[in-house]
């Protein structure tokens, strides 16, 4: 109920953000154990992300950005600290609860697209809705609508192998947004793409998120990518360096 109300008010809202925190990270710490070695990947990071934010996690390779994103999305276990999304403590959820939570609120765009090669673009986009048990007709219609939105009207029945990287990532974006998630996580979504295609992809993500006031958390090592964001969280060696806010564009 609460969530519905939020949506209605934010759609009317002209501004992109409404200053209600949707993600809270409190003193997140992650230690990987490799044999007897311990790798401190995250060293006590705290910040909040508001609803409608386009947030960039910026840092050089190995700085711990991916680790941070995975922990926020409940994909990896936190060593200590807490992560709240929509007031729910993600870091405490069991596997089933997490799955349901992801179905409902989270979307993902992967660097390597991660499409199922044996399925068509449409079937790939339908995947999250299958887990959500949305009826097949509605599912198909929604998937097609999304693919048209990302400019793949002609590729609906194509398999990933018949598409370019940019096209595959568009399918990935359609899949991430199709179930109307409130937060979409993206780990280097343009990492495998050339600069022109990257730009197209970023525009699509930005446009999608704007339409429904969705929150984006994007990991990148490329400072030029921050131009799409209104919040940039920079980390280095697992530590938070800076948080910049405002329309950077």
């Amino acid at each position: 109920m609460k969530q519905e109300n939020n949506k209605n008010t934010t759609i009317e809202n002209v501004s992109n953000t409404d200053n209600t925190p949707i993600i809270e990270v409190i003193d997140a710490r992650k230690i990987y154990k490799v044999g007897n070695e311990k790798v401190l990947a995250l060293d006590g990071v705290s910040f909040t992300i508001n609803k409608g934010d386009f947030c960039c996690l910026l840092g050089s390779s190995g700085s711990g950005k991916s680790t941070l994103l995975n922990i926020m999305a409940g994909i990896e276990k936190i060593t200590s600290g807490q992560v709240f999304i929509k007031g729910q403590e993600v870091t405490k959820m069991g596997e089933n609860k997490l799955a349901k939570f992801r179905q409902k609120y989270l979307g993902f765009v992967f660097q390597a697209y991660n499409l199922v090669n044996s399925l068509t673009a449409q079937e790939n986009v339908e995947m999250p809705m299958i887990f959500k048990e949305i009826p097949s007709k509605k599912r198909a219609a929604k998937a097609r609508e999304m693919l048209i939105k990302v400019g793949l009207k002609e590729r609906i029945k194509h398999k990933p192998s018949q598409m370019s990287g940019g096209q595959q990532q568009r399918v990935g974006i359609a899949r991430a947004f199709v179930a109307d998630p409130e937060v979409v996580f993206a780990d280097e979504p343009t990492g495998n793409l050339d600069s022109k295609t990257s730009e197209e992809i970023m525009d699509i993500i930005k446009q999608m998120a704007k339409d429904k006031n969705q929150t984006i958390v994007m990991v990148t090592h490329d400072p030029t990518m921050t131009r799409y964001a209104n919040k940039v969280i920079e980390i280095h060696d697992g530590k938070l360096i800076s948080i910049k806010e405002g329309e950077i564009h």
Partner: protein, 434 residues
């Protein structure tokens, strides 16, 4: 996930590894086929034995054989038995629960003469009122014996061989029976022809009818009403000087007809309690069932081993597929697929391999069964199956059992891979390799 989505997703997953799926299925098919064919041979064997037994005589007949004298095991001397098979005992037998009818059997020897031909014959006395319960072959010509016409004899087919004593042929037999029982004039005597009586007293033989040919043990005999046979028997004893003064007549054989095969053992126990040993086809059926069960167990075991091998095949295929699908499963988890759905998907895929493999196995089984029955009946002969019977029988229950079993085997084989699949972590989706 909904069932329909499991189905489509499962089939798609199987389809994208067509060759491996099909090969695994063939493994299951061979396993299912082995079990079905092996069991079908066992079933055919039992069917054929049972049919043979039924041909030889009804399963509800109990035969009591008893001799008034038996030998004492220690002294070797003859002692008189306490329990005699006489008319009072017959009344007692009739009163046993589930006993439909009882008749004594009494045999008397006689000679028949027709023109220049003569023949030896044995006439068995039976109670004509209950004769229908004792499995006599159908009457082909003439009619059934009855107390209204007590001296009329019902002959079995080809039980009397007339011969010409003065023929050049040493045995005097001709290929064709020279005397027609129904048409020709025949005389009968109960006197010993080669005994002391030089002039046997003949009387006219009255033929009631002739029965059909039959393999049944009751088929090779000639029947007359028991009361009449008793008279002939006593008469014969009177003439026989060696025989001691006859007291009450005791029978050596009594037949008991039981109302249902299921009660035969019970009745036999009661007869045992009265002091007699008895025999029934049901005893033999027990033996046959036991033998055929053993055969089926052995043959089925061979089949089961091949199904076990195919189960390992399924497990192998599913585990291979986990390694290939690690990333995909990780992605599914990230996209919100719950653990139970992943488990179900793997079990479903394994079950489908089992089901389709089983179906294929059944199809092969029916084909092989058909070919065996059509082109290889001599194999059946070696197995002891009577000619004319099928050597492979696949009843409906076996068909469904094989199919169900294949599915269960598939799912059991898929259990470990399914559990393994659920253990794959969502983080696999984030790894850049693969």
């Amino acid at each position: 996930m909904k069932l329909i989505d499991f189905t489509t997703m499962g089939f798609k997953n199987l389809w994208r590894r067509k060759l491996r799926t099909v090969l695994t299925m063939v493994g299951v098919a061979i396993g299912a086929f082995s079990i079905v064919i092996m069991l079908s041979l066992g079933i055919a064997l039992r069917d054929s034995y049972t049919k043979q037994l039924e041909e030889w005589g009804s399963l509800t007949l109990v035969r009591i054989e008893s001799y008034s004298f038996e030998y004492d095991e220690e002294t070797g001397r003859g002692i008189e038995k306490k329990n005699k098979l006489d008319d009072t005992m017959i009344t007692k037998l009739k009163n046993i629960n589930h006993v439909r009818a009882v008749t004594p059997l009494l045999q008397v020897e006689c000679y028949l003469k027709s023109g220049k031909y003569q023949a030896y014959a044995s006439i068995t006395g039976i109670d004509p009122d209950v004769a229908q319960y004792f499995d006599l072959p159908k009457v082909e010509q003439g009619e059934m014996i009855s107390n209204d016409n007590p001296t009329a004899v019902l002959f079995g087919k080809n039980t009397v061989n007339f011969y010409n004593p003065r023929s050049n042929n040493i045995f005097g037999y001709t290929n064709e029976n020279p005397v027609d029982l129904m048409e020709d004039n025949i005389k009968i005597t109960f006197d010993e022809i080669y005994g002391e009586k030089a002039n046997p007293k003949y009387s006219k033989l009255i033929v009631s009818g002739v029965m059909e040919e039959s393999n049944s043990e009751m088929g090779y005999a000639n029947y007359a009403p028991i009361e009449q046979v008793k008279k002939w028997y006593k008469e014969k004893q009177k003439n026989n000087k060696d025989s001691k003064k006859s007291q009450e007549l005791t029978y050596s054989t009594v037949l008991v007809s039981v109302d249902d095969t299921a009660h035969v053992v019970e009745v036999q126990d009661q007869i045992k309690a009265l002091g007699f040993n008895s025999y029934s086809r049901a005893d033999e059926l027990d033996n046959v069932t036991e033998i055929s069960n053993t055969i089926q167990l052995v043959l089925g075991g061979i089949g089961a081993v091949s199904l076990l091998v195919s189960a390992i095949g399924i497990a192998n295929t599913m585990i291979m597929s986990i390694y290939e699908r690690t990333k995909e499963i990780g992605v599914m988890k990230v996209l919100g697929c719950v653990v139970t759905d992943i488990r179900k998907l793997f079990l479903f895929e394994a079950g489908i391999i089992g089901f389709l493999g089983g179906l294929l196995g059944l199809a092969i089984s029916y084909g092989i069964s058909f070919i065996l029955n059509k082109y290889a009946p001599e194999i059946g002969g070696q197995l002891g199956i009577s000619s004319g019977s099928n050597i492979s029988v696949i009843p409906a229950w076996l068909c469904f059992a094989a199919l169900g079993f294949s599915v269960v085997v598939g799912m059991i084989s898929g259990l470990y891979p399914a559990i393994k699949a659920t253990k794959i972590k969502a983080i696999e989706a984030m790894k850049s390799n693969g």
